[in-house]
């Protein structure tokens, strides 16, 4: 029962978020700020995670196909497909859920408990739209770049690890990552990440917006935001994979 109550409340909030903006110039400025905060400031962590992820995937792939009959370029091919299909979207989204999810929930939650949201409302500003829409727009615009970054860095990491571990040569790895390449996989990955960051921003904003109490509750909202966003990412990962790849 409570689940449906929350889902209903979530959609009512979204309905307010997507109302017509009061003043485009103000929203535009806010969106740029959010692109900086959520997108550009996340590039570092995404790159670090991706390089190690690529390295591990490559070494594991090499380990799994340790058979003299199988050509070593399959290592590059296997690593590429794992990274593009799954890791650069789902793992990156889970990382972002931790980073921007908690950030959004605590920012909006703090604004709620310190009455900053009331201050916006009293001025006649649609606080839901003003606070949340720029975050959604910014993350949806920027997320595809983060995924592409993750793919490039991940594949590079795999190459470095493959060379360092001596399981594949540069020529074979490069041949492998070009072999039987399906461009649609990238589209698939981009679609996934866009849906995931939409879930992260809206779910986190929802928990922040309906915080009540004090700083303790802000912390709780922030934790809930990360946990629930992660669960919905995993759930939608299954749904989207079924829809897009079958």
């Amino acid at each position: 029962m409570s689940f449906f109550y929350h889902v209903g409340k979530y959609f009512l909030l979204l309905n307010r978020v997507f109302a017509r903006p009061e003043k485009h110039s103000v929203y535009y400025k806010e969106t740029l700020k959010e692109i900086q905060k959520q997108g550009i400031d996340s590039m570092g962590i995404v790159a670090i995670v991706s390089v190690f992820m690529g390295a591990v995937i490559t070494i594991q792939t090499a380990y799994n196909i340790e058979n003299p009959l199988l050509p070593t370029y399959l290592i590059g091919l296997g690593a590429r497909d794992s990274i593009i299909l799954e890791f650069s979207s789902t793992i990156v989204a889970l990382i972002l859920a931790g980073k921007i999810g908690s950030n959004i929930a605590s920012e909006i939650g703090t604004m709620r408990v310190t009455e900053q949201i009331d201050a916006l409302e009293i001025m006649g500003v649609n606080s839901a739209s003003y606070l949340i829409l720029p975050k959604i727009v910014a993350s949806v615009i920027f997320a595809p770049f983060l995924t592409l970054l993750s793919m490039i860095v991940g594949i590079t990491g795999g190459w470095l690890a493959g060379i360092a571990a001596g399981v594949v040569t540069t020529e074979n790895y490069i041949y492998g990552i070009q072999y039987a390449f399906v461009p649609y996989y990238i589209t698939y990955s981009v679609i996934k990440i866009v849906v995931f960051v939409f879930l992260i921003t809206t779910i986190s904003a929802f928990y922040g917006y309906y915080t009540s109490g004090g700083s303790l509750e802000v912390g709780k909202s922030s934790t809930k935001a990360v946990v629930r966003s992660s669960i919905f990412i995993l759930l939608f990962n299954v749904i989207l994979t079924q829809l897009l790849l079958s």
């Binding site: 003043k23 604004m111 310190t114 900053q116 009331d118 201050a119 009293i122 001025m123 006649g124």
Partner: protein, 253 residues
């Protein structure tokens, strides 16, 4: 003038406001006093429409505010300024950006005009040379004054203050009270102030209502308040040792 008629409000089946009727006058400082938890904030937020009331009417100069549709309500909001208990300044914006915010949102003034208006408002509350600082970098009293500047930026007709001097030292508190009183007179606003501070009552209680457990228990002025026979109000006024001493001294003479 703001009229509150038969207003009731409850949270989760608990009645917090019980059939409140009051008339708040224009150009005056109207005070709502009462203990913590008596319902002052809920009453103030109900008047400005941050809470929907279950019953009753809230009338702003002949307009039944709580019955307006969403769009008209929004239009009315531009004539309302509010000072929140903690100041509620946007902490990711500078002092200047905070005061400019309503101007950005609701006017088409050029940047220099907006800046002039901001400086005018900040000067009015005696804040200078802090335009580029963030709320966390200025004192509590200054934050309150900046919040007042933001509240008056659009020249509101109605001003609401929720415990404007809570958390401030007595001297700063009096300064804030004075400022609100002066501004009210200057702009001929209808001002409603929540407080539990007797100093504020003495300073600006042109009209005072006492809320007790969600009911209007007493209504009058700062002059009448000490002569009341009302037991709960007496307990509230003479809660402190200092005020009891003053009463006893006065009774002796």
């Amino acid at each position: 003038m703001i009229e509150v008629r038969n207003v009731c409000k409850s949270f989760n089946e608990v009645m917090v406001l019980k059939d409140i009727n009051v008339l708040f006058e224009q150009g005056k400082t109207n005070l709502i006093i009462g203990q913590s938890g008596s319902g002052k904030t809920v009453l103030l937020k109900s008047i400005v429409g941050l809470h929907d009331v279950e019953r009753g009417e809230i009338i702003f100069d002949d307009i039944v505010f709580n019955k307006l549709n969403f769009k008209d309500k929004k239009e009315m909001r531009k004539q309302i300024g509010m000072l929140f208990q903690g100041g509620a300044l946007f902490d990711s914006s500078t002092v200047e950006e905070n005061v400019m915010y309503p101007l950005d949102m609701f006017t088409n003034l050029s940047f220099t005009d907006k800046q002039d208006r901001v400086n005018e408002c900040l000067k009015r509350v005696n804040i200078i040379n802090t335009n580029k600082l963030y709320p966390a970098e200025i004192s509590g009293g200054m934050q309150k004054r900046v919040a007042i500047a933001r509240a008056i930026a659009l020249n509101p007709k109605y001003l609401f203050c929720d415990e404007p001097n809570s958390g401030l030292d007595p001297q700063t508190a009096i300064l804030i009270d004075k400022l609100i009183e002066e501004i009210t007179e200057e702009y001929n606003m209808t001002t409603i102030i929540n407080t539990h501070d007797m100093n504020s009552v003495m300073e600006m209680g042109e009209k005072v209502i006492f809320i007790y457990k969600g009911e209007k228990w007493w209504e009058g002025t700062k002059n009448g308040i000490f002569d009341t026979e009302n037991k709960e109000l007496n307990n509230f006024i003479f809660a402190s040792k200092l005020s009891q001493k003053i009463r006893d001294l006065k009774n002796r003479t």
